[in-house]
């Protein structure tokens, strides 16, 4: 049972990490990085570290995404639609 939870969370985590690297839109990449943090906190819970899982879910998926989104708005990359430019 726990093995399947770990398998699903690892697959979601690595898929979201690939999405972070290859998404053109910076807002979508920020959302993908918070998905990475959430899947990582599930994996921490499977590995018997509930306190680390709580901290990762609160800090990694919460505060980190918020400061990234605020920075994107400050530097003018807050765009919903994707447009092609060099990375």
């Amino acid at each position: 049972m726990l093995f399947w939870v770990a398998l699903i969370s690892v697959v979601v985590m690595l898929g979201a990490a690939f999405a972070v690297l290859f998404l053109e839109n910076y807002l979508a990449a920020t959302a993908a990085i918070s998905v990475v943090s959430l899947a990582l906190s599930v994996l921490f819970f499977v590995l018997q570290a509930p306190d680390v899982a709580l901290t990762e879910a609160a800090v990694g998926a919460g505060i980190s995404s918020v400061i990234l989104a605020l920075t994107l708005r400050r530097v003018g990359l807050w765009r919903i639609e994707t447009h092609k430019d060099k990375q």
Binding site: L14, L21, I33, Q48, A49, V52, G60, T71, Q87
Partner: protein, 152 residues
Amino acid sequence: MTESAGIIILSYCGAIGLILLGVFAMVMYRHLIRIIFGLMLLEAGVNLFLITIGYRANAVAPILVDGQIPAAAMVDPIPQAMVLTAIVIGVGVQALALALVVKTYQAYRTLDTQELAQKLAKETGVDIIEGTPVYLPSPLAAHKQILEEKST
């Protein structure tokens, strides 16, 4: 037992994958925010690696209930305490890096490292040959040296 072994192998695979993706992003991309994405992935991978090192098969979480030590073995609590600290420090590092990105954008209106290098070179008067700054001696000094050699 085999379930725990599978969990350990999966966690190591996830940690190594995250570290590789983070290093790839930090090395290959030119945009500053993409480099910070790579830094965040790298931190997550290292945290997962440390927690997996402290994991033991068929163990419970290192939490005492009513001061009673549980009958089953406990996982190693030292890496968990270190990772708990590292997560918070990582968010501080990200906040500092993002503040520097905002200041860089306000000063130069670009976040591409190549364009930033060219603008910095134009400011400081350093020549750029194929993307790398080259510190050549100024032509005036070289000319003066040749004249001195001729006169002696």
